[in-house]
């Protein structure tokens, strides 16, 4: 059973995001980067599959040299090897352009399952997994919270979170599965794991190694472009409702919601 986990490095969710004065991007200088939280579930699930069925777990990650730290985190958790896609040509790509490069890299890897986080917490696109499946001609299931691979490894039964409940689906493998919180509890890297991670294979590929044209990836290969970044509309701090205890404050709140806010 071979799994590939597509991993993205993102700013920590505790980060304050600052916009460049000209609106051309965000200021990355002070940001702490981590593995996208939803990708951690994919890493954990890949490790569980390896423990149960044997085979390998591989990380596929696009990004400049700073992403190596995130890749090493995955290797320290127990992933066997990693492929990093690093080329200035990949930069600034939308989900389509990014998936295109990932799909090309996946053609050279062995997999029964491809995991992607259900979305990256930076761009929040929720697209790459589905597009990747389409480009590779595979089925996908999004938002999985439970995975049981059949003994013959030709199919899997997954729980998928939908509105109002859980959908239990059978999917033919190989497939792309996008991972949602609740799937598992990602393990921490152990100290021996961290030591071993330094020696695990990390294959760095650029545009030429993938055999792709520069027009098909990054900004040039994108179908959408971010033209401007802006800060969210500021919310002014509102009123603190004064009064002697709930018997006074609660009726005042109800009145404000009805008469001023008009939401009740």
């Amino acid at each position: 059973m071979n799994s590939v986990v597509c991993v993205k490095q993102v700013p920590d969710t505790e980060s304050v995001i600052k916009i460049k004065p000209d609106g051309s991007g965000i200021i990355t200088d002070d940001l702490k980067f981590v593995m996208n939280p939803y990708d951690e579930y994919g890493v954990e699930e890949a490790l569980k599959l390896k423990e149960k069925f044997g085979g390998s777990a591989t990380i596929l990650c696009m990004g400049p040299s700073r992403v190596v730290e995130t890749i090493r985190t995955g290797l320290a958790m127990g992933v066997d090897k990693a492929v990093q896609l690093d080329d200035p040509a990949f930069e600034g790509g939308d989900a389509f352009a990014t998936a295109k490069a990932l799909a090309e890299a996946l053609k050279g890897l062995e997999y029964d399952v491809i995991f992607c986080g259900k979305q990256a917490v930076d761009d929040d696109l929720s697209q790459v997994g589905q597009i990747l499946a389409e480009l590779l001609g595979l089925p996908h299931v999004s938002l999985i919270q439970k995975l049981q691979v059949a003994d013959d490894k030709k199919s899997a039964v997954v729980d998928r979170q939908v509105e109002g409940g859980i959908e239990v689906l059978k999917v033919l493998l190989p497939a792309v599965l996008t991972t949602q919180k609740g799937l598992n509890e990602p393990r921490y890297a152990s100290l021996p794991g961290i030591m071993k991670a330094k020696k695990k294979p990390l294959d760095v590929k650029d545009l030429a190694a993938l055999g792709l044209n520069a027009d098909s990836v990054g900004c040039n290969g994108s179908k959408t472009m971010i033209t401007k970044y802006t800060a969210p509309p500021e919310r002014a701090a509102g009123k603190i409702i004064e009064g002697e205890g709930p018997q006074e404050t609660a009726p005042k709140l109800v009145q404000l919601l009805r008469e001023e806010a008009k939401v009740i």
Binding site: P11, T13, E14, V16, I17, I19, A95, F96, V121, D122, D123, D124, S126, Q127, Q130, I131, A133, E134, P139, H140, V141, S142, L143, Q161, V162, E163, G164, G165, E167, V168, L169, K170, Q180, K181, G182, K223, T224, M225, I226, T227, K228, Y229, T230, P232, R235, A237, G238, K239, I240, G245, P246, Q247, T249, A250, L253, V254, L257, A261, V263, I264
Partner: protein, 330 residues
């Protein structure tokens, strides 16, 4: 290529989702500027009676794909039918609701057609006759303007509750175009085995108009019953902060925030939630925010329109009674 704007009109349990009506209302305004028309795509089984309503809100045409194989959503069947329809008719814009279904389907269709797609948009508009959108990133810590290039059809999914619905005109009847559905069973690579219902009749957090949410200050899972009662009175959905979910008090699907659901209800009542940055990011587009917390320094008060600094266990029962009285009077 036509100047047509299409809206994927998601239907669930015999009802059109409100976000579809929001999008049709907006599409109608855009179509007037473009000199084009609005079409809705309606898929499912026995959904024909829903088609007319789409006309009331502004759809000139409804493409109706009514077939047994479309009864329950599967990515493969829905994407095949929709992709073929788009290929044949080449609309300039396709809008989807940024729902679980919409976010599953739209990237598949976009990829197959090599079309641009922006997810979870809070604003859609036109620039020189071409689609432009505004969408949050980092769960709302930043906003971006997006333009499209290089494809005939441009696509966006739109966040529920982000666009206003215009009043329906019941004299407007849409032209209904029946779509031939040719799906081979082998085309569908997933099979639904079971559906386990976990929620009652309440709206999903992402579509709820009122949310009552609890955090660490709720002190334990049993106390969420208090929020359930308040939610019952208001017709609200109950949410939770990451702290409450990580403590195992509430299900993951109830979590609001950057690693949970991003919500934009008309009213968000935060109970015992301090307001960690990742939580605030997920709910700051709520139209009105109420915070109830005994810590007057809690960051949530910086975002709240109305705040009560007090013990939530004392405030909520009184508040629930007050809302009950109000509902009884009106």
């Amino acid at each position: 290529m036509s100047n047509s704007i299409w809206v994927f009109a998601e239907a669930k349990e015999g009802k059109i989702k409100k976000v579809a009506l929001e999008m049709i209302s907006e599409a109608k305004k855009m179509a007037e500027k473009l000199g084009g028309d609005v079409s809705a795509v309606l898929m499912g089984q026995n959904v024909e009676p829903l088609a007319e309503q789409l006309g009331h809100y502004g759809a000139n045409k409804v493409y109706l794909a009514d077939h047994e194989v479309l009864k329950d959503y599967t990515t493969d069947a829905y994407s095949k039918v929709l992709t073929e329809l788009i290929k044949e008719n080449e609309p300039s814009i396709v809008l989807y609701g940024a729902t679980i279904l919409g976010k599953d389907l739209s990237p598949r269709v976009a990829a197959r057609l090599e079309a641009g797609l922006a997810t979870d948009c809070t604003g859609v508009g036109l620039d020189d006759g071409k689609l432009t959108v505004t969408r949050p990133m980092f769960a709302g810590k930043a906003y971006t303007d997006i333009s499209f290039s290089g494809s005939k059809t441009n696509m966006a999914s739109v966040r529920p509750n982000a666009l206003p619905v215009t009043p329906p005109d019941e004299s407007k009847k849409p032209e209904i175009i029946k779509v031939d559905v040719n799906i081979n069973p082998d085309d569908i690579r997933t099979t639904i085995q079971e559906f386990v219902k976990t929620a009652g009749e309440r709206a999903d957090l992402t579509e709820a108009e009122i949310i009552v949410s609890g955090g660490r200050g709720m002190k334990g899972p049993e106390n969420f019953q208090m929020l359930e009662e308040l939610a019952d009175v208001l017709g609200a959905t109950v949410g939770a902060s990451r702290a409450a979910v990580d403590a195992g008090w509430k299900a993951v699907s109830d979590q609001v925030g950057q690693t949970g659901k991003v919500v934009s209800p008309n009213l968000y009542i935060a109970c015992g939630i301090s307001g960690a940055i990742q939580h605030l990011a997920g709910m700051s587009t709520s139209k009105f925010i109420v915070a109830i917390n005994k810590d007057s320094d809690a960051p949530i008060f910086q975002k709240a329109d109305y705040g009560i600094v007090d013990d939530l266990f004392k405030v909520i029962p009184v508040l629930t009674e007050e809302f009950k009285k109000l509902k009884a009077d009106s």
